[in-house]
């Protein structure tokens, strides 16, 4: 190091130390000894500047990282009827889960009711069935929505479900301004990977900017979008593609909000991210570190953000469902532990650990508990929470971080060119011309060929296959769920005021036709017990539908 670098480093260290001391003095450190199992005291950080909490945040978004607060252990759950899922939520909270995360069934995700012909066979199977406010009331019954933070994984009908959540909370005396949580509402990755869209991209983005504007005023503690690479990776992308597509989508939402008149900081500071943690340990850690650095640089340099919070890439992590094997399912526990550790070493803000039986079905209660226990072991037994960014400064980890960034920048350059200097237009163009789905399908096929040709070993699948005792006990959602849900929906439809529903739906359509914000009429409408599908169709009549071109 030159003497100038040394003095810069000294100044950075002093600044970091002051920030750390301030938090310590304010009682913001956890009351545990920060020492090894053998009693050796350890420093909060090692290595060189920039330190955690310092631009560009490669080493972490906060100066103290897990010394202040462990990541949120947020277990994704949802199946059957609202009552079934409510019981699972309570089980998660009782067992030390610190946040809720809601999985909806496929009809709900697609804006269809349980009595739609499309819903047949899919009600309550992949998540919880929600048709009306009555289901949301049951889903969060006896849970203090002012005290927990809730994540809801829904995109096409996000604004509708958000309105229902607000209505449930307010009916229970919790003000919308006190609600904390995240709604996924990341529509770009739906066209790119997950395929749960309703409307074409541009009207979908209008709904999202309406939500951002509404929450800026009404819901300061809520994240209006969780920009998600998870599904992109699950669909087959590489780590660098996951990183690049996700951050590019983030840039696109910022550009869309700015174009709708929102200040860059009012938008960017409210965004959060969601990444996959797969099995290639150092590649994943490099990806997480690169994500923070890239987001900070782009927000500051390209978009002129001033607020430090706008530059922080805060993210949720989920272990890679696609890495779980149906063969010898118990060994998935080991995969999940390694992936969870990568998430912690990568500095995640919250974590979902997959259950070992999820290659075949939604998890049993036992499997879900083991998954939660796995991250509790990482958090409380391994000591990795004592030191922020403990791998920072490792030549390999720093190289991998740089390499992830380099590959991502090449993709941003391509999208920037596609969009004539706009990432937003580049993302629209890449959706339109099949760039994203093509890249992802190519990567997925390459991976499958490598496994098939034994160039890549998947334990229990193409090697070490002895000892498979079969699938064990699986959670099965029977047809009775569908029958029960149809009955519940029928009863709600019978007792609601049809005239009030019709006029509320007309108001939603009118808002969709105008520039008015959609959230207030949606909130009015859900309170009449209008269904998810009725509301989705009230907007579809204006926005149209999206049909994907079928390409292999």
């Amino acid at each position: 190091m030159s003497s100038e670098e040394t003095s810069n480093d000294d100044a950075a260290k002093a600044q970091w130390q002051a920030a750390y001391d301030e938090l310590a003095k304010a009682g913001k450190l956890r009351d545990v000894p920060f020492e090894t199992m053998s009693g050796v005291p350890v420093d909060p950080v090692y290595g060189d500047a920039p330190y955690p909490g310092q631009y560009p945040y490669t080493r972490g978004v906060y100066p103290t990282m897990y010394r202040s607060r462990l990541w949120t252990m947020r277990m994704f759950a949802g199946f059957g009827t609202a009552e079934d899922t409510n019981a699972r939520f309570k089980d998660i909270l009782r067992n030390g889960g610190s946040g809720l995360s809601t999985a909806f069934d496929m009809p709900t995700l697609m804006g269809r009711d349980s009595d739609s012909p499309w819903a047949k066979g899919e009600v309550g199977r992949c998540g919880v069935a929600v048709d009306t406010l009555a289901d949301m009331e049951d889903l969060y019954a006896d849970i203090d929505l002012g005290a927990v933070s809730t994540s809801m994984t829904i995109n096409g009908p996000a604004a509708i479900i958000m309105a229902m959540y607000i209505a449930v909370a307010e009916a229970n005396g919790v003000a919308r301004s006190d609600l904390a949580g995240t709604i996924q509402s990341d529509i770009f990755k739906e066209y790119q990977a997950q395929k749960e869209y309703i409307y074409p991209p541009r009207p979908s983005v209008r709904i999202i900017t309406d939500m951002i504007r509404y929450m800026n005023v009404e819901m300061p503690k809520w994240h209006p979008i969780s920009i998600s690479g998870y599904h992109i990776r699950e669909a087959g992308s590489t780590a660098a593609q996951e990183l690049a597509f996700t951050l590019a989508n983030g840039f696109a939402y910022v550009e869309a909000a700015v174009a709708a008149g929102v200040d860059v900081d009012d938008c960017a500071k409210r965004l959060s991210f969601f990444f996959n943690s797969h099995s290639d340990f150092f590649e994943e850690i490099g990806k997480f570190r690169a994500a923070r650095r890239i987001w900070a640089r782009w927000m500051k340099e390209r978009y002129g953000a001033k607020n430090e919070r706008s530059m922080l890439c805060r993210f949720h992590t989920q272990t890679a469902g696609v890495s779980l094997t149906a063969q010898q399912p118990e060994i998935n526990i080991a995969r999940v532990a390694i992936q969870a550790l990568a998430g912690a070493l990568g500095g995640t803000q919250s974590l979902h650990t997959d259950s070992y039986d999820e290659a075949m079905a939604l998890p049993t209660e036992k499997a879900a508990r083991i998954a939660l226990r796995t991250q509790q072991i990482v958090a409380h037994e391994t000591g990795v929470t004592n030191v922020a960014d403990p791998l920072g400064g490792s030549p390999y980890v720093e190289w991998m971080t740089d390499e992830m960034e380099r590959q991502a920048e090449a993709i941003f350059a391509h999208l920037d060119e596609l969009g004539d200097g706009s990432i937003l237009e580049g993302v629209y163009a890449g959706i339109e011309n099949g760039y994203f789905v093509g890249e992802i399908a190519d990567a997925a096929y390459r991976f499958e060929r490598e496994v098939n040709d034994d160039k890549r070993i998947i334990v229990g699948v193409n090697a070490f296959t002895d000892g498979d005792e079969g699938q064990g006990e699986l959670l099965r959602i029977g047809n009775e769920t569908e029958e029960l849900q149809l009955k519940r929906l029928g009863e709600v439809k019978k007792r609601r005021d049809d005239a009030a529903v019709a006029s509320a739906l007309a108001a939603v359509t009118a808002a969709a036709e105008s520039d008015a914000n959609l959230m207030p009429p949606l909130l009015d409408a859900v309170r009449t017990y209008a269904t998810v599908e009725e509301l989705a169709m009230a907007m579809e009549s204006v926005f149209g539908t999206y049909v994907e071109k079928a390409i292999i």
């Binding site: 094997t325 149906a326 399908a441 193409n462 292999i552």
Partner: protein, 155 residues
């Protein structure tokens, strides 16, 4: 909507008894959007010399049957990752019968072993689960095209 792909080799292994390449309609049945597996299967079958008519997402019994008739397909492959196979597979089989077709149906996706008997009893010609190799995928379609039932491959 379909994306027809011509075979890239002319291996006779993949031809039907009349000497033409096997023609397969591939579709996602229902609302389920998980299409990674089906796209990989489409490329595997294409590489194995078959003609793939890829219908993509959000197909119904009606749209699949229409494509099967129009394309004169030898086999239908549907993919489900939504645990809806016990409802949706029998439904499309009876729709096929009602349409006077006996095109064999291969089901792929997340199918627990305990469901295999029920699917075969309902008339499904083959089941491909997680971990099926490329060879098993191609073989199951080839056998189905010849009216034979392959061994299930569900891992």
């Amino acid at each position: 909507m379909s994306d027809k792909l011509m075979p890239d080799d002319t291996s006779t292994d993949d031809m039907t008894s009349d000497g033409a390449p096997v023609r397969v309609v591939l579709a996602k049945l229902g609302l389920d959007g998980h299409d990674r597996g089906l796209k990989v299967v489409a490329r595997i079958l294409r590489d194995a010399g078959m003609e793939v008519i890829y219908l993509g997402l959000r197909q119904t019994s009606e749209s699949i049957i229409a494509a099967t008739e129009q394309e004169d397909a030898d086999v239908i492959g549907v993919s489900m990752h939504n645990n809806g196979h016990l409802t949706l597979a029998p439904e499309i089989l009876s729709a096929l019968t009602a349409a006077g077709l006996d095109t064999p149906l291969v089901v792929g996706g997340i199918v627990p072993t305990e469901d295999l008997d029920e699917l075969y009893t309902a008339g499904v010609a083959g089941v491909l689960g997680p971990g099926a190799s490329a060879e098993e995928v191609a073989e199951s379609v080839r056998l189905a095209a010849r009216g034979e039932r392959p061994a299930p491959s569900v891992g």
